[in-house]
């Protein structure tokens, strides 16, 4: 019967059980409130800051017991956040915009990746260094990402009809095997994988060519923002502290990741490489000045513009800085 | 509660037809019959004449389209429900995953009789299958299977025993032996019995009364009493009476099976 057991929980609801935990708070000093953070992918150093927060008890000290829920190929972030299973999810502005257009009550409360990690990876013999180089090339990508390519082309005046799109699984093999000339992927994973296998590659960050979409954004429901503010603040505070530590020593974060998840099949060298590659995407002059996760009206305006090109019109209201202001204030 | 172990079988205007409205096949024409309790009645007739259908109606396995059947004071269904009857089926219908012992024991179990390994062993010996109790039906010859099926039918100690061509697949020698050995079994029980067969000699030898049926739809063409003494030993079988009865039955069959040839004569 063990497999039926979890079903009972759904009648109570994730939210209910945390509410129960809150009721206990006054009686027991330092009682921990259980909340969940839904990650957008399998465990890896991509979420290194969160692991540091967990490891150094930044959340526990704030009375929060955070479970980190891994994502996966078939684990969209939005449903558990809407359902209340997770208090906060790690999404991206374009995904969040799409979900909001479908009626999800989300706000973006923080931005981990200031620069979008989407990149075009190619081989040095046949490089793509600028959007204009895409003309006449075969690009391998997941079809779901078609709007991304469309936006890039539209921003840079490239005729998308001149590019041949080949649907591929999200891996580097089609590029290496010569099935395609370039790949649309994250700068922090497939190029890292290729480098680990001894294959040199050229990456062109879309963010360097006008593609302004916040990535690895923290999303929460309007309901949580209204009713569970203290938890959100505590969670984000831990995140900020964790990622500050990460910035100081990405290698340690990579080592911690490999140590914390022995079953994830992680390789220290690859994780270290990935940890280093994502630093410039996450930390900028802006975060230097205002703190990790920060966004301004200007960056939001740039996002709104790009998202409109992606066919996902949003209002700047989607971004809510009040939690970050409390964290940093 | 329990009625006499020798129930009469009473058929009143019993008819049976199959099929949808457009193409009805009449299997049994309206029949009125009384089969006396404690007697063995044989039904003979050409293949496909409806003998087996009549047997199934008496067993309550099929319901008549018209008319009414009673067995003693009960309906066939009621008799079935208290496991008062047993059928030895034409194709033996042994369950292939049970051994001979298992199949015979099933006869008792289905009839809700207490387990009795001794009785089972005796029955198996009686039908000449000693030493084959642990065998599966697939390992037996056709004749052995039918003997096992008869043992299973007897195992439930029925008040009404229905035998549907039980020796069809048995070789002549074995058949002869079974014809000699089995009657004492049901005579001792005193059960009312109905035997479907197409062997004239077997019908006369085993029964107290032979009903000759016409080709489809089945009607009673001849009703021939068999006043031969029991047990029907070699002397009886060698008697003139026996031979006369056999030729009576054969003649009745012939007349009704090939009416044209009779008319031509």
């Amino acid at each position: 019967m063990t497999f039926l057991k979890p079903t009972r929980r759904l009648f109570l609801g994730g939210a209910l059980s945390t509410a129960g935990a809150r009721l206990l708070m006054p009686t027991r000093a330092r009682a921990q409130t259980a909340v969940a953070l839904q990650l957008s992918w399998l465990h890896s150093v991509q979420f290194g800051g969160s692991y540091i927060a967990q490891d150094k008890a930044y959340w526990a000290d704030a009375g929060l017991e955070v479970s980190l829920l891994p994502g996966g190929p078939n684990a969209p972030v939005e449903p558990p956040v809407v359902a209340g299973t997770a208090l906060v999810g790690i999404s991206a502005a374009d995904y969040t915009a799409a979900a909001v257009n479908q009626g999800a009550p989300f706000k973006i409360i923080g931005v981990a990746m200031q620069k979008n990690p989407f990149a075009i990876a190619s081989l040095p013999e046949n490089p793509v260094n600028s959007p204009a180089d895409l003309v006449g090339k075969k690009i391998g990508m997941a079809l779901a990402n078609t709007p991304v390519l469309e936006a890039l082309c539209s921003i840079n005046d490239v005729d998308i009809e001149q590019i041949e799109v080949v649907p591929t699984q999200y891996d580097a093999a089609p590029l290496v095997q010569g099935q395609v000339d370039c790949l649309l992927c994250w700068a922090t994973d497939l190029p890292v994988a290729m480098e680990s296998q001894g294959i040199e590659s050229v990456t062109m960050l879309l963010a360097d060519h006008g593609y302004a979409v916040h990535s690895q954004t923290y999303i929460a429901t309007e309901d949580s923002l209204a009713n569970r503010r203290d938890q959100l603040v505590a969670l984000m505070k831990g995140e900020v502290m964790g990622w500050q530590d990460y910035h100081a020593d990405p290698e340690a974060a990579a080592a911690l990741t490999v140590e914390m998840f022995p079953d994830a099949g992680l390789d220290l060298a690859t994780q270290t490489l990935q940890a280093a590659r994502q630093v410039p995407l996450m930390f900028s002059a802006l975060t230097e000045a205002e703190g990790f996760g920060w966004f301004t009206d200007e960056t939001v305006a740039a996002n709104v513009e790009t998202l409109a090109l992606l066919g996902k019109p949003v209002s700047p209201e989607l971004w809510d800085r009040s939690i970050l202001e409390e964290v940093h204030g | 509660m329990r009625m006499s172990a020798r129930p009469d079988i009473r058929l009143e205007g019993v008819a049976k037809s199959f099929g949808a409205a457009g193409r009805r096949i009449e299997a049994v024409a309206p029949v009125d019959l009384v089969l006396a309790g404690g007697q063995m009645t044989a039904l003979v007739g050409p293949s496909g004449c409806g003998k087996s259908t009549l047997l199934r109606l008496i067993a309550g396995l099929d319901a008549p389209t018209e008319g009414r059947i009673s067995i003693g004071a009960e309906t066939p269904d009621a008799l079935r429900r208290r496991a008062g009857l047993a059928v030895a089926f034409q194709d033996a219908a042994l369950l292939p995953w049970r051994t001979v012992e298992g199949n015979v024991a099933l006869g008792r179990a289905l009839a809700r009789k207490p387990r009795d390994p001794r009785a089972i062993r005796d029955l198996i010996a009686l039908v000449g299958l000693s030493g084959f109790g642990r065998r599966r039906p697939a390992e037996l010859s056709g004749g052995m299977r039918q003997r096992a099926a008869i043992a299973r039918a007897l195992a439930g100690e029925p008040d009404l025993l229905l035998l549907d061509e039980p020796f069809a697949a048995v070789d002549a020698l074995t058949r002869d032996r079974l014809n000699a050995e089995l009657p004492p079994l049901w005579e001792a029980r005193g059960a009312t019995s109905v035997l479907v067969t197409h062997s004239v000699a077997e019908a006369v030898r085993l029964s107290d009364r032979v009903l000759v049926l016409t080709p489809r739809p089945a009607r009673v063409a001849a009703d021939i009493a068999v006043p031969l003494p029991h047990p029907r030993n070699a002397d009886v079988l060698a008697s003139e009476d026996f031979r006369a009865l056999c030729s009576d039955v054969t003649e009745a069959l012939r007349v009704h099976q090939f009416p044209q040839s009779v008319a031509a004569q």
């Binding site: 497999f3 979890p6 079903t7 929980r9 759904l10 609801g13 969940a36 399998l42 465990h43 479970s67 829920l69 994502g71 996966g72 190929p73 078939n74 684990a75 969209p76 939005e78 449903p79 558990p80 359902a83 299973t85 995904y95 799409a98 979900a99 257009n101 479908q102 009626g103 779901a144 078609t146 080949v166 649907p167 591929t168 699984q169 999200y170 891996d171 093999a173 290496v176 099935q179 994988a193 680990s196 296998q197 994830a264 099949g265 690859t270 | 409205a21 396995l61 079935r80 429900r81 047993a86 059928v87 089926f89 194709d91 219908a93 369950l95 995953w97 099933l106 289905l110 599966r136 439930g156």
Partner: protein
């Protein structure tokens, strides 16, 4: 020629490989060729060499064993629950014959639910842990057990039921003494098909956000371009599935099941009225909608990702832009059917053809069966790239993916069906030195073949949508992938409803063909 008959009718299990080569040299040769091929194509990252796989297995033994334990335990639990559900459903369908159509339809619809819809819902329902993996493993097997067991529960001659009835005993006795024992060989066939499917289901279940397991490692290895890891995991999955398959088969032989011989039931003449079919369809539709709406309400699933029937109706019919959305959906369905139908037919023919070929040459089984299990147990996300690489991104590749996914259950079911040919009939053909294949064995195989053709409908849909998602980028599969990533749950649920409807229609079409053919060869299967 003389060895053919007993080998076929007694023992459908894998036999030793062909012995034309010196013992052991065949596999060695294959290994050497494989190694050479892998080394020659190393720069293309297409296949891993055996030496690399062995090295990876040796250096990651602990990790792989832990992952295997996690996935295997989830698969085992899913196997038990799924098969239990399949058997209970079949029992219910036999005990309440009037409800059979409804039950079959609901069972089919649930089996057709695509992973992109069920995965997130299960994860939300269960939270972290193995719940979704176990459930998806169970969902992957219940239908392929339900169908053969249903066939088996009916695979008894009328005489056995008459026997039980002649003692005035009812359905329960009939079930205990006749139907259940008669169904056991079919259950074994179902369990054998279920073993690799459960493992695959558990692996794919890990894609819904699991912490650990072979599925997690697969995703990681694929992304990391780590071919030795991918192939090691695939090999482990295949090996475990083969072991489970062999264990179930061994158990079946230990039980010494006596398969019922071919049944000679008279053809069923039934006056079916048109309106009763319509009424049944309406009832099935009503109950489906009720279950759909009701289960979502009971579990309190947010409308955002768990759309109700009325949402789909409004999305496709009444909402502004419904026309365009409808058009997009139907266009995608059209593209899908163009690939799914040929793949489906190819897979069925391949499975049935292989079963017949193995009946003629039982020795081939030693090579064919393990390969078939391997193809069935390795996640399609791992095999699809290889197939696509070999056959291209065009129609051929997708059709091959579909055929690969469905030929295995067909093969196993048909093999078991072939084993039912009566000895006497085989002997008859042997007397004339004629091949019994077409005139005796083929008819004996038909009920099992049709059962697997039914199973193959949802399997073909799953396979074609996966191929579309990974390779061709067209059709319903690509649509599902796109809308799932953009939270377009209105379209997602509309597509699910359409897939379900298409499956039920395909099923009905198949049922009418089946009815027409089986009424001549296996009438007992039609007796309700």
């Amino acid at each position: 020629m003389t060895t053919r008959r007993p080998a076929l009718s007694r023992d459908p299990a894998p036999r030793a490989a062909a012995r034309s080569l010196p013992r052991g040299s065949g596999p060695l040769l294959v290994l050497l060729l494989w190694e050479a091929l892998a080394r020659a194509t190393a720069s293309g990252f297409i296949i891993a060499a055996p030496s690399q796989i062995v090295h990876h297995l040796a250096t990651h033994a602990e990790l792989l064993l832990r992952a295997l334990g996690t996935t295997g335990w989830a698969a085992l639990r899913g196997f038990v629950w799924g098969n239990l559900a399949g058997v209970l459903l079949a029992l219910a369908a036999v005990l309440v014959p009037r409800g059979e159509r409804l039950l079959s339809t609901l069972a089919l619809l649930v089996f057709c639910l695509p992973l992109v819809a069920t995965g997130p819902i299960l994860r939300v329902l269960y939270g972290p842990g193995a719940g979704p993996q176990v459930t998806l493993a169970a969902l992957a097997v219940y239908y392929t057990t339900f169908l053969p067991v249903l066939v088996g529960l009916r695979a008894a001659p009328q005489g056995w039921f008459d026997l039980v009835r002649s003692y005035g005993r009812g359905r329960m006795t009939e079930l205990r003494e006749v139907r259940l024992p008669a169904a056991l060989p079919y259950l074994v066939a179902g369990l054998q098909i279920a073993a690799p499917a459960a493992f695959l289901g558990a692996m794919v279940g890990e894609f819904t956000g699991a912490e650990r397991g072979l599925g997690v490692l697969t995703v990681r290895a694929l992304r990391a371009l780590d071919l030795p890891a991918t192939w090691s995991i695939a090999g482990l999955a295949a090996a475990v599935s083969m072991l489970a398959f062999a264990a179930v088969g061994w158990l079946g032989r230990r039980l010494d099941l006596a398969p019922p011989e071919v049944l000679l039931a008279p053809p069923v003449v039934r006056g079916r009225r048109a309106w009763s079919g319509l009424a049944e369809a309406a009832l099935a539709l009503g109950v489906t909608l009720l279950v759909w709406k009701g289960s979502m309400a009971v579990f309190g699933l947010p409308r955002f990702f768990a759309r109700r029937p009325e949402d789909v109706w409004s999305y496709l019919v009444t909402a502004p832009g419904a026309g365009a959305q409808r058009q997009r959906l139907f266009a995608a369905l059209g593209e899908t059917l163009v690939l799914a139908v040929p793949g489906y037919l190819a897979g069925l023919l391949l499975g049935a053809g292989l079963a017949l070929a193995l009946a003629l040459r039982p020795r081939l089984a030693g090579a064919v069966i393990p390969l078939s299990i391997a193809l069935r147990s390795i996640p399609i996300v791992a095999t699809a790239p290889l197939i696509v690489w070999a056959l291209g991104r065009g129609a051929t590749g997708s059709i091959a993916v579909v055929a690969t996914m469905i030929f295995f259950p067909t093969l196993i079911a048909c093999q078991h069906g072939l084993a039912r040919t009566p000895r006497a009939v085989l002997d008859l053909f042997a007397v004339y030195d004629a091949s019994p294949l077409l005139r005796a064995q083929l008819p004996a195989m038909l009920p099992a073949f049709f059962a697997s053709a039914r199973m193959a409908i949802p399997a073909a849909i799953l396979a074609v949508t996966t191929a579309e998602w990974l390779a061709t980028g067209r059709g319903i599969g690509a649509l599902l992938a796109t809308v799932a990533s953009t939270s377009d749950y209105g379209m997602l649920w509309s597509a699910i409803a359409l897939i379900g409807l298409a499956s039920v229609l395909a099923h009905a079409l198949l049922a009418s063909v089946e009815r027409r053919i089986l009424s001549r060869t296996s009438a007992e299967q039609l007796a309700r």
